[in-house]
Each structure stands twice: as C-alpha cells, then as structure tokens.
Symmetry: C2
Subunit: 232 residues, 2 copies
C-alpha cells in the first residue's frame, strides 16, 4: 500500500463528478485549479484517486482517473464510544486525533453527570470529514448518537476506568472480533452508568488521573499501533 | 504508591508556607477555605502533602502536614524536544497531554520552516504548572529553549519521521539510559534540520501523515505506558 503525503485531499462519493459545494468552491476559488491540473479525491470508502480536472463548471467538476490507491480499513472492527464533553475544543480534539489514528466508527453519548447538551450532529459529521481529509485517510467516519450510555447495544463492550482492572496495552485485541471501547466524561461515570458497565470488562490506562480526551487518545494510540503491526 | 483522584492540587515549593499570589487567591477567594480545612499541595519535586490550613493571611497561608505522598519520576531520563507550533492551541494541547502522561523534561525549539516566533517562556512555564496540578502530578516540568534544532546537545537523540526507519512501539527504551526524542513541526523538518538529524536514529509511527501534536502525543503514550509497566 502506498501512502500519500504533502497533498490536498478532496472528498466526493462520486469519483467522476464532484458536486459538493464546499469542495467545488475550494478547488475553483481557493486553490484556483485549471483544466488538466492534478487533484486527489477520496470516496470515503477506501479509494483515493489521483485525477485530472477535465471540466470545471460552477456547480460541478468532472475528473478523470490517472491512478487509483486502494486502502484497507484496519480498524473497521473497532468502535469508540465517546461522551459529549463539556468543553467543545477537547471533544473536537479527541475526534480529530482518533480519526488521524485511523478510527472510523464512533458512538457518541450524553454523559449523565454533565448538563444535557444537544448533539450537533451535522457539526460532528463535518469535523469527521475534515479530519479524514487532513490526515489523508480514505474512510468516511461513521457517527451514531445515543442519549444514554445504557442504550449501547454492541457485542464485546470494554470500558476504561482509573480504578479499572487490567492494564491496557492494546495488544490483546483479536482481529476478526468486534470491539467497543467506552470512555467516561469529565467527571467519570455516574452510578447509573456504572450499573450498566459492571457486566463488562474494565481496563486501566495509567494510575494517575487523565482527562477524558487524553484517555481517549492514549487508548486509541495503543489500539491503532498494535492493529497496524498485525496488518503490516 | 497511592494515587490521588478528585482532589484540587496546589503548588508551592515550600510545603509549610504558601506565598504564590495565584495559589493564595485561589485557596482564599475561589475555594473559600477556612482554618482547619484540608488541602493538597505539591512541591513539584515528587511530594504531595495532605495538609491542614493553620493560618490564612492576605499574602500567605500556613499549612501543617497530615499525610505525605511520595512519588517517583518514572520518566526523568526522557526528554521531549518539541517545536514551537504555528497554532498555539495545538502546541498547548501537546504540552498538556505529555505532562498528563508523566513527562517532565522539555526542550522547545524554533522550527526552521515556519515563520520565526518568539518563545513565550513564562506562558509555557505557567502552562506546565497548570497541567501538573490538573493531572495531579508532583514533578514540576522543566523547559529549555533553543533557537535552532542543531543547538540540541544531548546523548541518545532519536527522531520521528513519516519516512523514518523502525516502527516505534516504545518498548525498546532501557531504564538507566537517557533519551531525547525529537519531533518535527507542521511542515516536517527542513533540509538543514535533516543534516543535523541524519546521524541519529529515526523512527516511524504510522504510515499515514500525522499532525505534529498527534505524533507527539502518540509517541509519548507509547513511551509512558511501557516505562510505567517496567516500574510497576
């Protein structure tokens, strides 16, 4: 697999025709591309196309394939269940970093302890697309939203807790099995959330306190690095 | 070693007398503590004192030891050499996260490629204290500032590069030896920086592009988790 760097990546589900307003604007007005220029486009399904601009319209851009790069979603069997954080910057940071590390499945929940906030679904999905493009990934991140953690309906649930069981090193994940990893909010888990989680496996990252987004990024690093090694 | 959680930690080099203006203000005006209240104070040298407030003056607070917690600096032999990033939020995040993970030695350099920015030394040191307190760490982070990467004068220099050599998993670090890990800026290393680095060992984190701060946090996670395991 060849990995690209130092390119600008665009997103279009259709790899012949780009119609997304933002992408069309960026190609035409920001990057000021002309006919015959080379651009890179991903369909969010594992393909990146090196392509030539053959037609630039106001609302659509037609491209022609020059070279095709195909990738595998190494972390497709892993879901991260992440709370909406009070601090939007920290939430954004956690999502951006985990996408850079290669994660594509997200379940976002409203933690019990913090004040209820509405999901800004569209904003979160846009954030996902931006992070995919920036880190030159080719799988569109998928987001599921649940109101309460106990609505989580997955096989093989694991959670991280400062007082958790085993030390987590990311090495004990088997390919072929599905996994969901649950992280707590800024104030940890509520007693109701604990009642739900008590049937599942808990892990500990460090003996000292980590902020929510730090735990998310640290655990994701360990998972991603280990899965990557298996798949080399 | 007992690790604390859900406490507010203060910093005072003198563990009998708190004179730092911000800390005195916080204890008195923000937390509104009274005589005989219990607070936790670290000296930044590995000790956290559970202590009783015995006197609250306008400029100083006298405390009395109740219990002493002593920690070991597990990562004292490791230095992180981090570039000043163009985006101050991303720089702040990198510093905050690595301190949470237990790092205490930082060398900050000005990367060649980006426009020259002055170091805001005081701001960076304050950030270090805040991150230490927030993550209930007890070692004051030390910062060294160098104008150019080739001024780096350390034993055992290693650097991270997308096109680097060995895959990095953090397991190949020996205790008892000193290590310095160098990270590139937003645009990678300049050719001059590469000339300096070419004599040293390079590592690769992931095959795809990672932002500077992501590489810093991911590598730090791998180092910290492995060193922690050795020291359990």
């Amino acid at each position: 697999m060849e990995y690209l760097s130092n390119i600008q990546l665009y997103f279009s589900e259709d790899l012949n025709l780009i119609t997304d307003e933002t992408e069309v604007h960026h190609i035409q007005k920001v990057m000021r591309h002309n006919i015959d220029d080379i651009i890179y486009v991903t369909d969010g399904k594992g393909t990146i196309l090196k392509s030539k601009l053959t037609r630039i319209g106001k609302r659509e851009i037609i491209i022609e394939k020059i070279e095709k790069y195909q990738y595998e979603n190494v972390l497709k069997h892993i879901s991260l269940c992440i709370p909406l954080l009070k601090n939007p910057d920290r939430f954004t940071f956690a999502i951006e970093k985990t996408i850079e590390l290669g994660f594509t499945n997200f379940i976002i929940y409203q933690p019990k302890i913090t004040t209820k906030k509405e999901f800004k679904k569209e904003r979160i999905e846009k954030l996902g697309i931006a992070a995919m493009k920036q880190s030159l990934r080719s799988f569109l991140p998928k987001f599921e939203f649940i109101k309460e953690l106990n609505q989580l309906d997955c096989l093989n649930i694991n959670f991280f807790d400062q007082n958790g069981g085993e030390n987590f090193l990311g090495a004990n994940i088997l390919t072929g099995n599905d996994y969901t990893f649950v992280f707590g909010g800024e104030s940890g888990f509520s007693s109701e959330e604990y009642r739900f989680l008590k049937n599942y496996k808990s892990y500990k990252l460090t003996p000292n306190r980590l902020r929510s987004e730090t735990a998310i990024i640290a655990a994701s690093t360990l998972i991603a690095m280990n899965q990557q090694l298996i798949n080399v």
